[in-house]
Amino acid sequence: MRLDLRTPLGALFGMVGALLAGYGAATLGQPGTAPTGIPIDLVWGLVLLGFGLTMLALARRARRDSAA
């Protein structure tokens, strides 16, 4: 494949996840940030960050395998 799609996918979701998790952590406890009692920005930001890092790791492993 010409450009491993997992690289931009991982970079975008990693970046958005970090942004969201950071914002969620910074605004923790403020009114309106935890609908139904869950600090959703922080939780979902970490989920996105995990997905992004997984994609980047898979792309890196594929690069290493094809180079070997």
Partner: protein, 615 residues
């Protein structure tokens, strides 16, 4: 009106930067017209599979299915479990060998190879026209929504979105569109999943949702499970909110409309044709079917929730303050809602947080023939976003919404530039030019395809009924097409004259049936009855399904009759184009899930299970 914070804008800007960046990164790989229009047939199955589903994930899917979820409940899942998955399995197993194996570069080109030039020309012209208008309608819906939701300028919204789509397709062609569609797929999944989670948690899970919707069903005169069971009330059209009985549903939606769209629409088929092998092309719709069967949970349930979420639920401060001070004219705020557990309709007629549709002249809520307030179901999903998401996540949700509009538009534009360049320009305007010329024409076609889409968005904004009218034309053209393809691929005796006449007759029959029928409560006009009202249907959907059935049967019969009295092509000319004259494709993949047939069995088994669970 919802106010965004810097974090919301940051998420959107990151997305815009990445989609354009992908186009720029792929530009250097586009050297030939095949690279631009068909991705050099080099994309792996998992990518084409996700792009296959994402190209269909336009505004109609995300906003429209949310609206239908609010209006019809879980019965909307029929659009997936009956109206999509079986057809996706069929195209993967049986039709893709002809599309991919014939080396046709587009669906109209397959029609030329199988039938003749006039059948290709008819299909190419109608398809190219429909794609740019579909794209324009998607743009119009997006501009209107962003204006209503965020107060953004309609003009700026559609120009910026069109400019971004133009940039990444112009640079990287189909590959760029496909890569971005996969990005958009994940954005839509990650943007809407927390909405379902928060909404269900708020109403007490599925059981709580079912209990509250039983109240809505009682108010509307249905049995308690009418909104939460998909098949139980399909025995008679009057027993379910869809207003359709099981035969009309299965034949109209599950067979004609579904197979007509998934098996013949170049917009989705083009993604599979970009795959790197025959097996990958056949697996493309099957891979797409796996997430597709789960999409009802992502796009329909938010609509169902919007009907029962109440003002006592978690409400964003912006909305709460807007409600306290009173909404600005046209502002998108949650209406007063019935108390939890109450069966009473909302004051002013709102359902949950779905606002009433307002009369544009008076600003008063519109009412139906029985005096009940008409709800603006298209706002069900957007209302859920602003209701549940705090700053940050709201940016992600809105970006997902934008991604759905843009992926729908990009799918149409890439299909348009290919059909225009190969099937119209190369065939009728300038045949025999060097490949570089067609590559350049593909890029020009992208520019004017986007420009016509923008113009179509303004046409849609100027005429109240233009969207209904175009949807009607699409139904007239698409429904008979599957009969043409089915006969073309599986009956070697079908001729070009038969196909051409059948298509014309099918479209005329659709128009005649529509002109002679009317949905209950509708006025004569774009909704039907313009040739005289011979029959009425309980709902617009029932009328659409039966129109499709009439169109398909007419096309099927006329094609057979005309084919039998005209001369068929010799069998030698049909090898690779017709079942029975084409060797069956061999799948050499080692693992079972890499082979189309076992994958199809898994997909169909899961679909049956989902139908049973929500029966």
């Amino acid at each position: 009106m919802t106010t965004l914070r810097w974090i919301d804008y940051a998420v959107m800007l990151a997305y815009f930067a990445f989609v354009i960046g992908i186009g720029a990164a792929l530009r250097r790989y586009v050297r030939t017209s095949e690279d631009f229009f068909l991705s050099g047939r080099s994309i792996p199955a998992w990518v084409t599979g996700l792009a296959f589903i994402s190209a269909n994930l336009g505004a109609q899917e995300v906003i429209g299915m949310g609206a239908s979820g609010a209006k019809y409940g879980i019965a909307t899942s029929h659009f997936y479990w009956v109206g999509a998955i079986p057809a996706m399995v069929f195209v993967g197993l049986f039709m893709m060998p002809f599309y991919y194996g014939s080396r046709a570069r587009s669906v109209p080109e397959y029609l030329k190879l199988r039938f003749d030039e006039k059948t290709r020309g008819l299909n190419a012209i109608s398809f190219a026209t429909m794609t740019v208008f579909s794209s324009g309608i998607s743009l119009y819906a997006m501009g209107k929504l962003l204006n209503l939701l965020l107060g953004w300028s309609f003009d700026a919204s559609i120009l910026v979105a069109a400019g971004i789509v133009l940039a990444y397709i112009f640079l990287g062609g189909l590959t760029s569109a496909i890569y971005n569609e996969v990005l958009q797929f994940f954005l839509i999944v990650f943007g809407f999943a927390p909405l379902v989670f928060l909404g269900l948690r708020d109403v007490g899970g599925w059981a709580g949702l079912a209990q509250r919707l039983a109240g809505v069903a009682a108010v509307n005169g249905y049995a308690p499970g009418a909104y939460t069971r998909s098949w139980a009330f399909m025995g008679h059209a009057s027993q379910n909110p869809v207003g359709v009985e099981w035969f009309g549903l299965v034949m109209g939606l599950g067979f004609v409309l579904s197979f007509g769209y998934w098996c013949t629409d170049f917009l989705v088929v083009q993604r599979a044709m970009a795959a790197n092998s025959m097996t990958a092309a056949r697996r493309t719709p099957l891979i797409a079917a796996l997430p597709k069967m789960l999409f009802p949970f992502l796009v329909i349930i938010p609509g169902m929730l919007a009907m029962v979420v109440t003002s006592r639920s978690a409400v964003r401060p912006a909305i709460a303050s807007a409600q306290a001070t009173g909404p600005a004219p046209g502002a998108l705020v949650a209406p007063a809602a019935p108390a939890i557990g109450s069966d009473a309709p909302a004051p002013g007629g709102g359902g949950g947080i779905v606002p009433a549709k307002l009369d544009p002249r008076t600003g008063e809520p519109l009412r139906d023939a029985r005096g009940r307030v008409v709800l603006d179901y298209d706002l069900a999903t957007p209302m859920m976003l602003v209701h549940f998401f705090p700053a940050g996540l709201l940016g992600l949700g809105l970006t997902a919404l934008l991604a759905s509009f843009m992926s729908g538009m990009a799918g149409n534009v890439t299909a348009f530039n290919t059909v225009w360049t190969y099937d119209l320009y190369q065939s009728y305007v300038r045949p025999g030019a060097p490949d570089a010329h067609y590559l350049a024409m593909g890029r020009y076609a992208t520019v004017f395809g986007v420009a016509i889409s923008v113009a179509a968005a303004y046409v849609a904004a100027s005429f109240n009924n233009i969207m209904d009218f175009l949807q009607l034309v699409f139904a007239f053209v698409n429904a008979p097409l599957f009969a043409t393809f089915a006969l073309g691929m599986f009956w070697r005796r079908a001729t070009g004259h038969g196909a051409f006449t059948g298509l014309g007759a099918g479209t005329l029959a659709a128009a005649a049936h529509h002109g002679l029928s009317l949905p209950a409560g509708a006025a004569v006009g774009v909704k039907g009855g313009y040739l005289g009202v011979v029959t009425t249907y309980p709902s617009e959907l029932a009328q659409t399904f039966w129109t499709a059935i009439v169109a398909w049967v007419t096309c099927f019969v006329v094609t057979i009759v005309v084919s039998l009295v005209t001369r068929p092509r010799p069998a030698d000319e049909l090898r690779g184009l017709v079942y029975g004259l084409t060797p069956k494709p061999e799948d050499r993949a080692r693992r079972w899930y890499e082979r189309p047939a076992p994958l199809a069995v898994v997909v169909l088994t899961l679909t049956v299970l989902l139908n049973l669970v929500f029966f």
